[in-house]
Amino acid sequence: MANIGSYENHLKNFNWSIAEKELGYLDGDVINIGWYCSDRICQLGKSEKTALIWEGKGDHEVKKFTYNDIRVLSNTIGAYLRGLGIHDGDRVCLFMDKVPELYIGLLGILKIGAIAQPLFSAFGDESLFVRLENAGTRAIITQRKHASKIQKILDRLPNLEYIIVVDDEGKKTLKDKEIVFHLDKAERVEKFDIFPTKAESGSILHYTSGTTGQPKGVKHVHYSLISQYLTAKWVLDLQDDDIYWCTADPGWVTGTSYGIIGAWALGVTQCVLDSGFSAEAWYRFIEKYRVTMWYSAPTAIRSLMKAGDEIVKKFDLSSLRHIASVGEPLNAEAVVWSQRMFGKPFYDTYWQTETGSIMISNFPGMKVKPGSMGLPFPGLTAAILDPDSFEPIYAVNKPGLIAFRHDWPARMRTYWNNEETFQKKFKNGWYLTGDRSTIDKDGYYWFIGRDDDVINTGGHLVSPFEVESALLEHPAVAESAVVSKPDDINMEVVKAFVTLHAGYEANDEMELDIMNFIRKKLSPLAMPQEIEWMDKLPKTRSGKIMRRVLHAKEWGEDIGDISTLEND
């Protein structure tokens, strides 16, 4: 029996107080996610239950933590930070691979009332800089191997006081602002005075990309727990005896909302594989730990499909009870494939960094329409809006903008230092997702695409503006335009159209040089997978690059009105 029971009944009778009651929260109470994800579970008698099974590179390195361990160790990290003078409201960045210190550290930061700012460890120094500068981050917790990226930008970050290295082996002299903290050697803090955060206290700052401008810091609050707890329970169907594997990195919102908070607030055992992708390694991981609930992404699922059916048969994957997907639309073929290979479909879920929790999904126990995003979570008012009037469209199968009436607990509260852009996300009382879809006669949503130029590659948003700006810093590049191009595995990848300064030659060596330049400066995600050399870029008569002409060319779409295109 699925946790959700009857979806229809919940539609009639929904109130977020369902989650509040289950969590023992009353309006106005202290609510601290760090406490709810560790101390509370211990108080429920699950101190010795395994909270985290972590496996590093190569299956010989395995660590296990009970709920009491994560309670005490998050206290320990909290106490250490507090000892440095970090306090409520300060931003503390987590810049690490998927090591235990990342997961437990997030709870420690929340326990002192500070705001956790997890960042993807593959970010290049420029991507790191704009996010740390915007947040005014006071401390960053990292690994030795990533510390050099921080050193490169340190002189431009006056607010950054501490670079806390969790795995320093003492082989090298510590550099400016570096201090060493070993979680396994630190004195364990059994009792800790947790900061009394309230519902609207800041909790997590995740950065996301838009079409224009720099990345935006999406501010969430401790009350987001209410949505994350209930969606983890009803959509991911997490149950007490589950072994749960969320493959997302906590540098992205899925990795915190469901890779940490949802699972641990429910007292579930979760496992983490801190390694790269390989079909064999992933199937082995599921078999080894008898994973029952698996939450992954379409890019990974399509990569598994590409690896073939034979490899699946080499492993015993019978432990899988429920599987779900998030990040970008899950194509129907992947749903049909998973039914054939695992005996169950991947349940697609739809949400965003800004929504903080699952908004539309296929629900356990209900019919899955392959290729559909599913139905809105109970209690949410969702609609498709006309892009001009921002009024709901009631016609079946007519495209429009996906929007939600606020409010729900996990909704972002602002963009950090960018309230103006935040306000633009709302029209007529609707939160605008920036995504387009249709609704069929049964109320199921069907994804169409973005309503802007943002590139969704492998479930991660990349700003064309950010890549174009970085390209212009390459000495050979005169002009650039960046669009998405279709990709079988990642749905979309970054493609750049480039003109070069006189004296530079457009050739394969130059292409490789530019690709690596962007990969190191921004991230591998932002690296153009293809560069097309141009003599000139299509522009309007006023000189604005017509990105949509290039996009249409890549996607085989109608170019549309080009009356404003500049003539030779």
Partner: protein
Amino acid sequence: MPDLHEMKETILKYVINEYAEEDDDVTFDTPLISGGLVDSFSMVSLKRFLEVKYKISIPDDKATPEVFDNVNKIAALVKDYL
């Protein structure tokens, strides 16, 4: 045709310079993709390096994460296309 050992050394040096972080210990057998050293996006730039360096063309369907998973395997792949 380049000597196989020399080719491995060249590829290893490139991987260390381009993808390894401080303290990463990379050898001919180190898992690059499954070990998380080179992600699937970066694999495209590694493939392009091999094509530029050895003046070959590797079909996309042959450039799988499994074949790119260590320097030994990559060198064997390159040899096939020389």
